[in-house]
């Protein structure tokens, strides 16, 4: 409960201004702050109040209790490429970040590797920073399932007591992590863009909210492990160290067929099979400005000339003009190519959060006020339909000359 110390309150209205939810007001008659029903106890007003008139009672646990938990865990998600099992980049990115956190805490870094015949991935994971690989192999872990994976990971967490667990915020990661959090009554912070250890040895988790308009930092002060998910391409992939050694710990897995309640009936890979825009170096991205579906062909042609891949904004996916695996943004994928060219994309905040960490951003848009120009390294205010054909012509001439 948020308490107002009426004596200390001066009615200065700072709390009213900083409240993200409009949940505290200074009553004109009394000139004192009053808390409304929609208060979420986020604490924004408590830190803003200059008179220590506001307070929230929070639960605390002993440091000894928390100290029983150590080791940073990463879920080692893999995927099948051309029939082969390969580790997903996001798992390596998390090993990079996890190493940094583990070093600050003076703890070791471990990876949870679940599957059937996945032992061959262990060395790569060790080279990328893992000190321990928990190898959980079982027939029933061959394909991802919510029940199978949540059960195995929950039991490893319960017995090994890590202080931090990180998951890739992929479709399966976002399916799995909350299941484990609910089972173990743990905090879980989604889509973190920053992770650090604060002076109290707590995991400081930074994430965007309200579509990226606001940043929030989140703590899990009195439960362990502290768990976070992170989207692909948010943290850099560490360079492997071929000399690094580590330990492989095989975990006994007891699963029964009936403990996995969902059955896969069919897998449908979209026609752009094998293309994962999260891994593309050059993306030619289009938005509503494209006008009609036929114009996609022009973009495909341009992407081909640039050795790039076509991606797009949510608007085009909603219209069914491009398939959802090619969608960039808050409800699609987060990409970080070396070059991102945006044609006819105005740059809603939900789109920008999905691409603003690209190395170089080029934007072409006929609206000079389009927000996309704010993140662009190079922008052209003009008509994409006129510029693209001219550009393709010039590009072909240039290639021919060289």
């Amino acid at each position: 409960m948020l308490e107002v110390d009426i004596e200390a309150c001066t009615g200065c209205k700072v709390c009213e201004r900083v409240c993200p939810f409009g949940a505290i007001v200074v009553v004109p008659e009394t000139k004192k702050a009053k808390v409304l029903d929609n208060c979420t106890l986020c604490g924004a007003c408590v830190s803003a109040c200059n008179f220590e008139a506001l307070s929230i009672e929070r639960k605390a646990v002993s440091e000894e209790e928390l100290a029983k938990f150590n080791k940073v865990f990463v879920w080692g998600e893999w995927e099948k490429k051309d029939g082969k099992i390969v580790i997903k980049n996001v798992a390596l990115e998390l090993l990079g970040k996890g190493k940094e956190l583990a070093d600050k805490l003076g703890e070791s870094l471990a990876i949870l590797l679940l599957g059937k015949d996945v032992e061959h991935l262990a060395q790569t994971l060790i080279h990328h920073g893992a000190d321990i690989v928990y190898l959980c192999e079982h027939e029933l872990l061959e394909e991802y399932s919510t029940d199978g994976y949540a059960t195995v990971i929950s039991s490893v967490i319960a017995s090994e007591k890590p202080s931090v667990v990180l998951y890739g915020a992929t479709p399966n990661g976002r399916d799995l992590a909350p299941r484990i959090a609910a089972r173990l009554a743990l905090g879980l912070t989604a889509d973190c863009t920053g992770l650090d250890i604060n002076e109290n040895r707590q995991l400081l988790q930074t994430r965007p909210a309200f579509g990226g308009n606001i940043m929030a930092s989140i703590l899990s002060p009195y439960t362990r492990p502290q768990m976070s998910s992170v989207r692909p391409n948010v943290f850099p992939k560490p360079d492997p160290d071929e000399n690094k050694t580590g330990e492989i710990k095989r975990v006994d897995v007891n699963l029964k067929p009936y403990s996995i309640r969902t059955k896969i009936i069919e897998e449908i890979v979209s026609k752009d099979e094998g293309i994962n825009i999260e891994e593309s170096k050059i993306l030619v991205s289009v938005g509503r400005g494209i006008g009609n579906k036929e114009n996609i062909k022009v973009i495909e042609n341009l992407a081909k000339e640039l050795d790039g891949t076509v991606s797009g904004s949510r608007a085009l996916v909603d219209l069914g003009w491009i398939p959802h695996p090619l969608q960039v943004g808050q409800s699609g994928k987060t990409v970080a190519p070396t070059l991102y060219i945006a044609f006819g994309i105005s740059g809603a905040i939900q789109h920008l959060v999905g691409m603003s960490s690209s190395d170089t951003i080029i934007a072409v848009n006929n609206d000079a006020d389009a927000p996309i120009f704010k993140v662009a390294d190079f922008g052209i205010i003009g008509n994409m339909h006129e510029i693209i054909p001219e550009f393709i012509k010039l590009l072909k001439e240039h290639k021919h000359k060289n």
Binding site: D175, G212, N213, P221, S270, N276, L306, Q330, A368, F378
Partner: protein, 267 residues
């Protein structure tokens, strides 16, 4: 057959911003709406009701929030829900994902204990965590399928077309189960005048924490493993060189020059 829809009232996220100068929230002109993904879940339920008349599907909308969240229940009733329930209590304040899912679980158990299917949006546009439905399913002890775009009923099982990173997969699970809906092929509908009039006679009830017999130690801030440390404005970007592209030939040449200079195209 009983379908429960879990819905959330959200501010129009696009319009909420932090003033980078003062660090305070700008919220003038920000309306509260039914979270769009919840609306798609409701559309899916209404579609199932039409497709399977023999199942006598009854749709119950449940939301947790402050008293004004009742507004989204009216919208649900207009769009096809048969009943609406608001779980509202100051004791829920400060609830994070875990505490929210605990409250929703208790709400579902109290309001519609013999449900067959729970549908929810994949995420809410204010928090974007996509975690509450899965945590609720876990607390209810039922299986889940996330990121659904199409749902079919097949006897005692539900079949869901689910988005994956490279396309789709079709999953099947025995009910009771929880399914979250991604935007997919569903369409936002405008209710007809008749639907609006019909909705007036549908019931809405409000329950407090005590009404649903929830343990006070499991809800609100004290039961929430995560806490907001602080809120701040994202870094402001200014942008780079901008050129006028009135003449497409000149613009195309400038674009080529930029790409060549920066080694994206070989000289």
């Amino acid at each position: 057959m009983k379908i429960v829809i879990l819905v959330k009232q959200v501010p129009e996220a696009d319009k909420v911003a932090v003033d980078p100068e003062t660090g305070t929230l700008i919220r003038e002109g920000v309306d509260s709406i039914l979270n769009p993904y919840c609306e798609y879940a409701l559309d899916q339920a209404a579609k199932l009701k039409q497709e399977y008349p023999e199942l006598n599907i009854e749709i119950t909308a449940i939301t947790m929030g402050p008293p004004q969240a009742k507004a989204v229940l009216y919208r649900c009733l207009e769009l096809g829900a048969d009943k609406g329930y608001l779980i509202s209590d100051r004791k829920f304040a400060g609830s994070d994902v875990w505490a929210t899912s605990t409250a929703l679980k208790e709400g579902v158990v109290h309001i519609e204990p013999d449900f067959d299917l729970i549908l929810a949006g994949k995420q809410a546009i204010d928090g974007d965590t996509a975690q509450v439905p899965a945590e609720t399913a876990e607390q209810l002890g039922i299986p889940q399928i996330t990121y659904g775009v199409d749902v079919k009923i097949n006897g005692k099982r539900v079949e869901v077309k689910r988005e994956t990173e490279t396309g789709y997969q079709v999953l099947s699970v025995k009910m009771p189960a929880l399914v979250t809906m991604s935007k997919g092929s569903n369409i936002r509908r405008v209710p007809s005048m008749q639907q609006v009039l019909d909705s007036r006679s549908k019931p809405i009830e409000t329950f407090s924490a005590d009404d649903i017999n929830i343990d006070e130690n499991k809800i609100g801030l004290k039961a929430s493993p995560t806490q907001v440390d602080k809120i701040f404005a994202p870094p402001v970007k200014t942008g780079g060189e901008i050129v006028d592209g009135k003449d497409p030939k000149i613009a195309a040449q400038k674009l080529l020059d930029y790409l060549v200079e920066n080694n994206f195209i070989k000289r």
